[in-house]
């Protein structure tokens, strides 16, 4: 069953120079009980995409498309409805998780302030839950009574995860939560997310990252974005092992692999930079960097082509005229 269905979503930024098309007609769905990964280079629109689900503020504008969350279109909810859903049903662990907590408020106060906003009345109950969860993530109960500034970075990260999931949201968005962390802490975070899923604290997770290797470990299905467009979407294993889109392939080949010696596998970067989203080319947005670009690439936009069970990619190389 789909927890979230996004259809042809367009999210642009209004700037003095015109609209920046950060998310331009993206469709996907997130199912209950799965971890859905979103990957791409920085600036490809992945953060914009997930943030637009939570909150759209100027200069971010919704230019079309739907995002059905448990049957309701997030893009059309009233301010108050949207506010109520957040945290209780739809929550986020932000990219800046280490600084997400107000430095001058005790963690228990922050939590209580939020919980009260969402209809909780029993402060002790909330605090008890908080302490319990803190223990669950291997933090001392006392952290509840501390100020965020008194915690180390990693502790703050975990505390934020606890805060974000405290009210058992159905869908949790984890936005680049691991980017700034060292490998061991990354591991802890990922384990925690697994743990949350296992315990039924969250039902589904959207995991946003630029690190494909990480997705391999956590995501059930994944989607790769490039310049505001979906280039490939499908079960993680398939996408990683049989990438169909040249971009995905390049992305993957730029990763070092465990067990393979450097000399044997030449790491390849992707030459060039992502195009400006202010005036994207009509056709494929990747053609400027694509080693296999065809004549029609600059002018014709490729559609998603089915390349396997639930596995799609958008590239003229895959044909797809018929789709």
């Amino acid at each position: 069953m789909a927890m979230l269905t996004v259809e042809d979503l367009k999210i642009y930024y209004a700037t003095p120079f015109g609209h920046v098309k950060a998310v331009d007609g993206v469709s996907f769905e997130v199912r209950e009980g799965e971890v859905f990964g979103i990957a791409g280079e920085s600036g490809c629109g992945k953060s914009t995409l997930v943030h637009s689900l939570i909150l759209r503020k100027p200069p971010m504008v919704h230019m079309g498309g739907k995002a059905l969350f448990k049957g309701r279109d997030l893009m059309r909810l009233s301010k108050e409805e949207s506010r109520k859903i957040r945290y209780t049903e739809l929550s986020i662990i932000p990219q800046y998780a280490m600084n997400a907590l107000n430095p001058t408020k005790k963690i228990k106060d922050i939590v209580w302030d939020l919980a009260r906003e969402h209809g909780h009345t029993d402060r002790e109950e909330v605090e008890r839950l908080l302490r319990e969860r803190l223990k669950m993530v291997k933090l001392s109960e006392k952290v509840a009574d501390m100020y965020p500034v008194e915690l180390s970075g990693g502790m703050r990260q975990r505390a934020t995860m606890v805060v974000s999931t405290l009210l058992n949201p159905d869908l949790l968005i984890a936005d680049e939560v691991t980017s700034a962390l060292d490998v061991t802490t990354q591991r802890v975070v990922i384990e925690l997310l697994h743990h949350f899923m296992r315990e039924g604290i969250v039902k589904s997770i959207i995991f946003v990252t630029h690190d494909l290797a990480l997705l391999d470990k956590i995501a059930d299905r994944m989607m790769i974005l490039y310049a505001g467009k979906v280039v490939e979407i499908g079960p993680t294993e398939e996408v990683i092992n049989e990438p169909s889109h040249p971009y995905t392939q390049l992305l993957l080949s730029s990763l070092p692999r465990m067990g393979i010696q450097y000399r044997k596998q030449k790491l390849r970067g992707i030459p060039g930079y992502p195009i400006s989203l202010l005036n994207p080319p009509k056709g494929c947005r990747f053609y400027t960097r694509c080693p296999y670009a065809l004549d029609k690439c600059p002018s014709e936009e490729p559609k998603l082509v089915k390349v396997g069970e639930e596995h799609y990619a958008a590239c003229h190389l895959l044909g797809g005229e018929d789709q």
Partner: protein
């Protein structure tokens, strides 16, 4: 424990500041050309006889070698003796003591109330863009006004043209300060214009400060997080406000510390008998001792205010506490 080290460090820094400021204060006038005694005597009588000059040099201890003057200065300081004013012919401490209440009467309410009102207006402007668009230029205009010029306008319009309020002195000339109703009424009516002249202008800068802080804080990660988790506007503002107000508290304390310096130009416009005018007169007339005394009081109170703020912050701002417990 970190707190102790923190305190010791602060005390040392403030101590050095104090010694430095006071020494500078002692040194400056003595480096300058001109004989203040002669100026003093000749100004009042026309020509000065050497007899009188010698007499006064002895009275003020200016005939002693420099190092001894410096030593005496510190010794006297710790006895609470700030010297003897040449201009006013009275102990500096007593002159200051009699002027200070008037400064406090004007400045304390002006600073505190403008702080309250300014922060309130600034916070509203910070979170409400529509309101901000209209009020912000006004705040900037207020903050740009030389406060003595605004005082002049008030005197001219309210005092001279409309004749609603008295605008000169601290109370009616036929009264002697007392706790009588008549005196209080007179005092208050003389108080309003100077108070307003400072209050209104000060609102501008407080409001700007608060507005900018609120905008800054509302952009901060923790507010974005709160918002993402469905916090109401009210809650976000509450959190932002708390953090935004901290620097404003510092500003308030510093202003209060500088209060004893008076509001020189305002006091000139309103003929208010405060310390500002004392300082100015002392400066214009090279009254070493009064100038030093007044400056000293100012430095002490500013340092005290700073010190107090440092201590208070160690308790109210966990960030400060975190910084010293770490190191």
């Amino acid at each position: 424990m970190g707190f102790r080290r923190y305190m010791v460090r602060k005390v040392v820094v403030y101590g050095i500041t104090f010694v430095f400021a006071v020494t500078l204060n002692w040194l400056l006038p003595r480096l300058m050309p001109g004989n203040p005694i002669e100026a003093m005597v000749s100004r009042s009588g026309g020509a000065a006889s050497s007899q009188l000059i010698k007499f006064y040099e002895e009275v003020y201890g200016l005939n002693q070698p420099m190092w001894k003057q410096f030593l005496n200065f510190w010794v006297n300081l710790f006895h609470g003796d700030l010297g003897y004013s040449m201009l006013y012919n009275a102990p500096v401490s007593s002159i200051i003591k009699h002027a200070l209440p008037y400064d406090i009467a004007i400045l304390l309410p002006a600073i505190v109330l403008s702080w309250l009102v300014g922060n309130w207006l600034g916070a509203i402007a910070g979170k409400n863009k529509k309101y901000d668009r209209y009020t912000m230029p006004l705040f900037y205009f207020l903050a740009s006004m030389p406060y003595f010029w605004f005082a002049m306008i008030l005197v001219y319009v309210v005092g001279v043209k409309l004749g609603w309020l008295p605008y000169s002195g601290a109370y009616a000339p036929d009264l002697v300060p007392s706790l009588s109703w008549t005196f209080i009424k007179s005092f208050l009516s003389h108080w309003i214009l100077p108070f307003l002249s400072l209050f209104i202008v000060m609102i501008g800068s407080w409001a700007i400060g608060m507005r900018n802080m609120i905008i800054y804080e509302l952009e901060a990660d923790y507010v974005r997080y709160l918002e993402a988790l469905g916090a109401s506007e009210k809650l976000m503002t509450k959190h932002a406000y708390r953090n935004a107000i901290l620097p404003q508290v510092t500003g308030l304390a510093l202003q209060l510390g500088m209060m004893v310096a008076g509001a020189i130009a305002t006091e000139i416009v309103f003929n208010y008998p405060g310390i500002g005018v004392l300082i100015m007169n002392a400066a214009l007339n090279q009254d070493y001792f009064l100038l030093q005394g007044a400056f000293l009081i100012v430095v002490i109170s500013v340092l005290a205010a700073n010190f107090l703020i440092d201590i208070v912050y160690a308790f109210i701002d966990p960030r400060v506490r975190a910084s010293y417990t770490e190191g």
